[in-house]
Chain length 463, copies 3
């Protein structure tokens, strides 16, 4: 019945074992604690005249880190449980690739951003693990475009290549071009979305209609997905502020994001209702487009965009994103299961543009001299850069993100077309049965107690 | 078949758009960053001899803010998913009105509490957004009384009026009467509950029995509701401590609330079991009455009520609230879907009384001179106020909350009776079908793969 | 039909009331606020020359406390919803015994660790409530072994005895032996697991097969359980760092745990896939074994185990734990519903061994002199202890935990065999119907609206 063979019994364990062992070896060679997480910190503190333990970077960033962590695992994970029979795959494979990706990201980002020239080692602390979670987000966004159509081995390969692509792209944007992108409208969302969309385009399945019966939500799976939506929505202020500047930088980034998101919700409900018979709302829109404001504030969150500026950004993105779900089909060839084009690609690009404009129009009268220097880090070799120039570089950053997403996605897409990865056949997509032991439904339990040996066989060893 | 026409295709989008645009304009005119979230903060810090970024208000309150945010969106939202076929409406409309309400609250509360006399503008920071979430909570409590019986447009109207009512009431209680109410037993719970109950009384549906078949829970919807219950329960210590005084104030408020909540759980289980045949527990009680201790600690949380005092408050509230679910029907005319009378009204009033007594009996021997002045803010023109007087004012605060809830609810209730809001007919309440595109159940998928074009039609544009 | 009588209508309310009243009396006699949560703090602060409110212990630990709190109530609670018809009991009884246990733990741990010699009272603050949550975790782990087979009254008894056993064991391990165990591999996991397994062994039900039809998961209950898994997984870094040393201690504990958990995920997926036909993954493994890395890092989390050391620990534990679910049946007599032997017992013991080795091999060259003294608290009468000796004491600590778990479990097991506790009969286990009012399924609602008075009878008083 199946044209393809989705048996991953050898390939998945091999991939997991080999890559995890590689991580251990590479960590052994390269990764150590940084100054603030090393037991020598008490000496270091004295040398630097730091008077209190509360000055440890941990206390500035740990609460935000945990919020970001929840977004990665529960937010993205549960957002992808909306399909009626792919909830295990949605939350489970998200879990797998994020757990691999964050290790790989610590290495790749470390080589580019955190290498200690004194000993050639990567020194990690709280900021590195936040950045690793960010890096993983790029790959999880890409997964959204492919949900239900690929094997876990393909997802691991997507992550294996996605992380270094992200790290290089991020290095060029943030360090070479000296672009600001605190919440990653470009670096995370634009890159991740185009990476996934390009792969989806290359993995085009002309006969995907054969799985149409499962490519939809169920009542309870829609409620599960709302868990993902809400944790993403609520914690997005932490996402955009997690690595911005201490003090007013983090403070402002949180407030701006909070406002943009609120605004997105109203325009999403408006367009969703306007578009349907009798004004009925569509869960697809509510689960996704309400988040567009957070994506679009990724670049400008720490800027003085003003509270009403944030509202305007959210207003526009809620509209654009919902319209995306309603009408846009960029190409029939891109079978974008979660609609990442509408949630991440368009708002990400918009966010980059908003960021470029906001940067270009920044002034000392608004920021103060010190505030302008701090916010845009016009220090050292960038001391002479003007806001206008910065705006130009911000726009250049967007092009880099797009290029890495599309070119990287094309290369990885062709790799994933090789017939060795155990992906499901066209009539077997969106179905947990392919890669999971699925219990029979509780609904099928007869109310009169009756012995059913088959159903519980797999749990026998639990007792 | 339907006597009423619940079509909101025009009204809902118009309301969302117009009000969101109004928010943008009003924010443009009135709202700016406060000192600690503005880019001038580094200058400000130097002027005030603040030595460390960690002194930014953000670090004192942001973790509590995020907990409160989770309570508003996941806590209240999922608590209202308990109905078997109204989970979309429970969590979805909660999302909509909270997102609108928090913007509107920033303005209304800002005009009353945060107006900068120098330039006539509202300066917002972390404390304002916590207060906006609090303000929204009042309207969400009111929604609980109306769950399943009103249209989203009516909920928006309820919020439009509820927020200013709250802001004025709060201003009178906290600023004119100089009452302490850190966690809002009066300001939030009493007001919100009576506001909702009065509206429900006015919107009385004599034939609501026609929707009886849907006015109950399902097995899975009860488990979803437990997500709401638990996030409310766990984060209530953050709710009651979020805006209390730095240092021992926040610390004590968290501990007192933690204890009162634990105590509520035991008496709730006790009464629930005692009241049923064979001692069977009722999920309605577990989902709601376990939270009563948190409501009742809202006023006294930051006081020196002592750990055992907190346990006693929780003990009583668990009993009272569960009894409420079992026996009290204040009036057949009040069709209180979620039982907000039992969860918010009674414990809120009790909390106000507990607060008044605790305040009246406060003494320098218990608080220390400095502690007493700080806790009750006996400074400036209140420097001469005694604890006994404070107790009297606390009691007066309760009356203000009740008056605003009941009178405000009456006015808004009559507005909501106008036949233009698209509310459901009596035989169509508690049903997501009215305002949502509801997917067919996953259970109806035949295990033998069969083409079903109808079911997935609405998702076609995703591919 | 039932051999036993699971009616708890008298016993459960009596237990809840009497014990809660006892708590109130004991708190009244013994429990007061500590220096940092008392209103005298502002004076205390001045005396000690503390310059800022941010130095209050609250700000060092409150975010971690809330994460731990989520693990206890949502993490453990939802992890136990996996059974198809015991979700109410899983999350509900977890709620009950945790709420009782944390009060009892504040007293028991207080008498051993926090008694103020000046006035014979227990002074509580944020660290005490974190420790109370930890203490409760021991009993919740034990519950996991008994899930579905005991009555709520038995669980209350299990907790009544479990908390003092924990407190004494903890006192011996941490204070008498001066062992380090920040995240409780020994104190919490080893003790809790063997306590529960021994009780389960004594409560052996030879005819448990009669409930086999319900001893398995359902599709949605498996997704609910993933909520528990993920919140445990994400917040485990907070669990292991919540009470470790300020500054680098907390920082390092969080990073080590983060890495170990990531590594566990990959080996869990690998073994799960390797063991099944066509490589299909089993949700039982993903829900549980992915957490083993966190358990095993409980002792060594704050040590300089190095990032790759953490990865190795997680690597091994993912394998061992998954194998446990696949093949190990320690004894047919131990009917371990949740597999706590695989998730807590084995990784806990391994964690203790890892901790002992890491401690024994600690050196000044790695930690610095000051770092070594701080990390192992080689101060006062322990100033002369060497790392090697410390390693020996760590191993001794493991023996204490095992002894308390097994002996305590045996005693409590025999108490729980008394025929007075209302436990379910063998053919009635794993069934919420026994102790809960269970709503009929929403699926049974006829799509054509039809009056169904029976179903909603219990909700009538809500209106």
């Amino acid at each position: 019945m199946l044209a393809k063979n989705p048996d991953v019994r050898i390939s998945l364990p091999v991939v997991c074992f080999v890559w995890q062992i590689a991580m251990i070896i590479l960590f052994g060679v390269f990764v150590r604690y940084d100054e603030e997480s090393d037991a020598h910190w008490s000496e270091h503190k004295r040398e630097k005249n730091i008077t209190s333990d509360i000055e440890n970077e941990f206390y500035y960033r740990y609460p935000s880190f945990q919020d970001v962590h929840v977004m990665i695992f529960v937010g993205f994970g549960f957002l992808m449980t909306f399909l009626k029979r792919y909830s295990f795959g949605g939350v489970g494979f998200n879990f797998l690739i994020a757990a691999f990706g964050l290790q790989w990201a610590l290495l790749m980002q470390g080589w580019f951003h955190a290498l200690d020239p004194a000993d050639g080692q990567i020194k990690i602390g709280i900021e590195n693990i936040i950045n690793a979670d960010f890096c993983v987000a790029g790959c999880l966004i890409a997964y959204g475009a492919l949900l239900g159509k690929v094997s876990p081995v393909q997802l691991m390969v997507l992550t294996l290549f996605g992380i270094p692509l992200f790290a290089v792209e991020e290095y060029i944007i943030l360090h070479v071009l000296h672009v600001r992108d605190a919440g990653g409208s470009m670096v995370i969302h634009t890159f991740g979305a185009y990476y996934g969309l390009t792969i989806s385009w290359i993995l085009y399945r002309p006969k995907l209609d054969q799985s149409k019966r499962l490519n939809g939500s169920g009542y309870h799976s829609d409620v599960f997905a709302m868990i993902g939506t809400l944790f993403l929505w609520m914690f997005w202020p932490s996402f955009n502020s997690a690595i911005s500047d201490h003090g007013d930088g983090q403070h402002r980034a949180a407030i701006n994001t909070y406002l943009a998101l609120a605004s997105s919700v109203l325009t999403t409900f408006a367009i969703s209702s306007l578009s349907a018979k009798r004004g009925k709302l569509d869960m697809v829109h509510i689960q996704n487009a309400t988040l567009a404001g957070g994506v679009a504030m990724g670049t400008a969150a720490e800027f003085m965009i003003t509270p009403y500026g944030s509202l305007i950004v959210g207003f526009c993105c809620g509209i654009i994103s919902t319209f995306g779900y309603l009408v846009i089909t960029v190409s029939r060839r891109i079978q974008d299961t979660c609609g990442v084009h509408n949630l991440h690609a368009m708002p990400g690009v918009l966010g980059a543009v908003v960021g470029a404009i906001t940067a270009a129009t920044a002034s000392e009268s608004v920021y103060g001299h010190e505030g302008l220097v701090n916010t845009f880090d016009f220090k050292g070799k960038y001391a002479e850069r003007t806001p206008a120039t910065q705006g130009g570089f911000q726009a250049a950053g967007l092009c880099v993100a797009l290029a890495f997403g599309i070119v990287g996605g094309a290369i990885v897409g062709f790799i994933l077309r090789l017939p060795v990865w155990g992906d499901p056949s066209d009539d077997n997509c969106f179905d947990d049965e392919v890669y999971w032991e699925v219990p029979e439904d509780e609904e099928s339990i007869p109310p009169i107690l009756e012995y059913n040996s088959h159903m519980v066989g797999k749990y026998a060893d639990r007792m």
